[in-house]
């Protein structure tokens, strides 16, 4: 992502050739870490940083999917409600208990989640492309549908995983670690690596960017715009399903308010990460960095003693704006 070339004046051209727009989110993340270290002594402990990275997994993974949708010139507002819907169906599936072995049950539920997630994504994609409805309105409508169905399924209350054995089998996915790193953190980076490969190294990825930067040109070059766009929504659905895979083991339950406003957090992560809302540019690692930034801002606020709890929202908003301004400034300098 940060290409360097060897020329006669290495120090000058190094900076000229680094894509500062891609580096900017990481600079912002670094500054935030410095700021955080002043907020509380325990901020820079492995424990705290792993906590924050682990819980940012949902937004990070959903935002990776959103990077595809947005860089192809689309938008998906339904992802938060989709998390609630997919996770609720999966818990109800596990509660139905059709498979005796707990491990088999969990694996089957995971397959169910992936299928439902992709089906939801496909529905969103077809409505926007075949139905030719603006993505904003189409996915706003679907947001209502997924949220309403979840509320109906839960009768407004909570849907809880009842079987204690299944719960015990599934729980480690969120809470256990491999080599000291919790599984959700691996999930972020594996999802990111696969997504980066697809977006940067495959013809499909190049088509996504082409469709996002100029729909007409892409069409004249023989790209099926509808197919590419629809597939980005399916990828988004898949990412939502992966987020659900690690959401369920945390609290083993969903409520009618699960995933509320997550769509906005995901979109913010994408934009903070350097992807343009108008499409044509996609930065997977920037997006993941953006998700970390969002979660760390909240963490720093809570750990510091100087900020009133009433001001949290204002400061969070201000930090995001400042992060974006730093980006713009770096880009202009290049």
């Amino acid at each position: 992502m940060t290409d360097t070339t060897t020329t006669k004046a290495p120090s000058r051209s190094f900076w000229r050739d680094v894509d500062l727009r891609a580096v900017a989110p990481f600079v912002a993340l670094f500054l935030l870490l410095v700021l955080g270290s002043f907020a509380h002594d325990n901020f820079l402990t492995t424990n705290n940083l792993l906590n924050v990275m682990t819980r940012s997994a949902y937004i990070a993974i959903i935002a990776v999917g959103a990077t595809f949708v947005i860089s192809a010139g689309g938008l998906d507002l339904s992802v938060g409600a989709m998390v609630a819907f997919v996770a609720s169906l999966a818990i109800m599936f596990m509660n139905a208990g059709s498979i005796a072995s707990p491990l088999g049950m969990v694996l089957a539920a995971m397959a169910v989640m992936v299928l439902i997630g992709m089906a939801c994504g496909l529905a969103n994609g077809l409505i926007t492309t075949i139905g030719k409805i603006e993505p904003f309105i189409a996915t706003l409508g679907m947001m209502g549908v997924y949220r309403g169905l979840t509320t109906w399924l839960s009768q407004g209350g909570a849907i809880t995983l009842r079987n204690a054995d299944v719960q015990a089998t599934y729980r480690p996915i969120y809470f256990e670690s491999l080599f000291g790193i919790p599984y959700p953190v691996y999930a972020i980076f594996v999802t990111g690596a696969i997504a980066a490969f697809v977006l940067y190294r495959t013809s499909f990825g190049r088509h996504v960017i082409a469709v996002g930067s100029n729909e007409d040109v892409a069409r004249y070059s023989g790209i099926s715009v509808e197919r590419v766009r629809t597939l980005t929504y399916v990828i988004q659905g898949l990412c939502v399903a992966i987020a659900c895979l690690i959401y369920i083991p945390r609290l083993s339950s969903t409520t009618a308010t699960t995933g509320m406003m997550w769509e906005l957090q995901a979109i913010t992560a994408v934009v903070v990460g350097g992807t343009a809302l108008r499409g044509g540019v996609g930065r997977i690692w920037g997006t993941i960095c953006g998700a970390f930034i969002l979660e760390i801002v909240g963490n720093v606020m809570l750990l510091s003693n100087v900020i009133s709890e009433y001001l949290l929202g204002a400061i969070q908003g201000a930090i995001i704006i400042i992060a974006m301004l730093v980006q713009r400034w770096l880009v202009r300098k290049s």
Binding site: T45, R55, G157, S253, T255, L302, L303
Partner: protein, 315 residues
């Protein structure tokens, strides 16, 4: 007041058992918010439960329960109920102020109006005949007093709800409850009455403070997130957590003698049932029920938990 209420409810119940014969057909309309989170889901459950029970007890009584997702559709629902010909209206408004006029219109036609939980700014007898509500300041005060009595030197972290008046009332009540004791509040942050947000806030509290004695989460949904965060951190310094509202999961924990959840403080969604029972008593038995009934924020302990446990309720 609280004794009066319990006495009245009991008397009303006993009286209604025997005298339901030979009367005109009466109709009670019940308008409540649609189930959009745990507590309102409980309201819907209890409204339907009590409606069924009342109709079984009084063959001459018809009870219609309508749910509405927002103030505008609730105003329409109230109008529809009125057109259907009701003798009394029991309403738990989604948002009281926008609904005042719709309620007043029903009252102006001489119908009996019982208002539940959420009061408009002008909550007098021009709006309603009967007002039944939980006690937000007491919800905080009861929790505060329990902490001050059980663990007099406790260091407490608080997870608040959303920045709205009832949350502030609970906080003020809590401060009154611990007033004069050595209980120390380390921190208060918003958890938005959400399990996920409470999990995050609790994780950060555990990072921030090496020793925490008690968590006051003031809401049973948030206790779910708090418990997971503590379990993950494997911290043993936290002695107990106090929630609030009275969800079936937390009441069950109290009844089972869970050490981390020894008590709960009631803010019962079943209060809509209280209003319905009283309305029926006034309508059918002609006992006086007009007035204001503020329910206790009862402390649920292992001994009385069974009484507040509804395993079939969604909340």
């Amino acid at each position: 007041m609280r004794r009066l209420l319990v006495g009245l409810a009991a008397a009303a119940l006993a009286a209604t058992m025997g005298t339901a014969l030979a009367q005109d057909k009466k109709t009670i309309g019940v308008s409540i918010p649609a189930a959009d989170h745990g507590w309102t889901a409980g309201v819907v459950y209890h409204a339907e439960r009590v409606a069924k029970k009342l109709m079984e007890e009084h063959p001459n009584l018809n009870v219609i329960v309508k749910t509405s997702p927002d103030p505008a559709s609730q105003a329409n629902a109230v109008q529809d109920l009125e057109t259907q010909g009701i003798d009394a209206l029991v309403i738990l408004p989604t948002d009281p102020d926008p609904l005042v006029n719709a309620i007043k219109e029903v009252k102006a036609k001489g119908k009996f109006v019982a208002l539940v939980d959420r009061a408009p700014s002008n909550n007098d007898d021009s709006v309603r005949d009967l007002y039944v509500a939980g006690n937000n300041p007491a919800l905080g005060e009861v929790a505060g007093k329990y902490i001050a009595e059980t663990t007099p030197n406790a260091e407490v972290v608080i997870i608040r709800g959303l920045p709205i008046p009832i949350d502030q009332q609970r906080q003020d009540g809590f401060d009154k409850g611990i007033d004069g004791s050595a209980v120390k509040v380390l921190d208060r942050q918003y958890g938005n009455w959400s399990r996920d947000d409470a999990f995050k806030v609790m994780q950060d509290y555990l990072t921030k403070y090496p020793k925490i004695d008690v968590v006051w989460a003031q809401d049973d949904d948030m206790v779910v997130g708090v418990l997971e965060a503590i379990q993950q951190a494997k911290r043993t310094d936290i002695q107990y957590i106090i929630g609030g509202a009275g969800s079936k999961d937390m009441i069950k924990k109290v009844a089972d003698g869970d050490k981390m959840v020894p008590v709960d403080v009631l803010y019962p969604p079943a209060m809509v049932g209280t209003a319905m029972e009283l309305t029926a008593a006034g309508l059918i038995d002609q006992v006086p029920v007009n007035g204001t009934y503020i329910l206790d924020a009862t402390l649920v302990t292992k001994d009385n938990a069974e009484q507040f446990y509804f395993p079939d309720s969604p909340f």
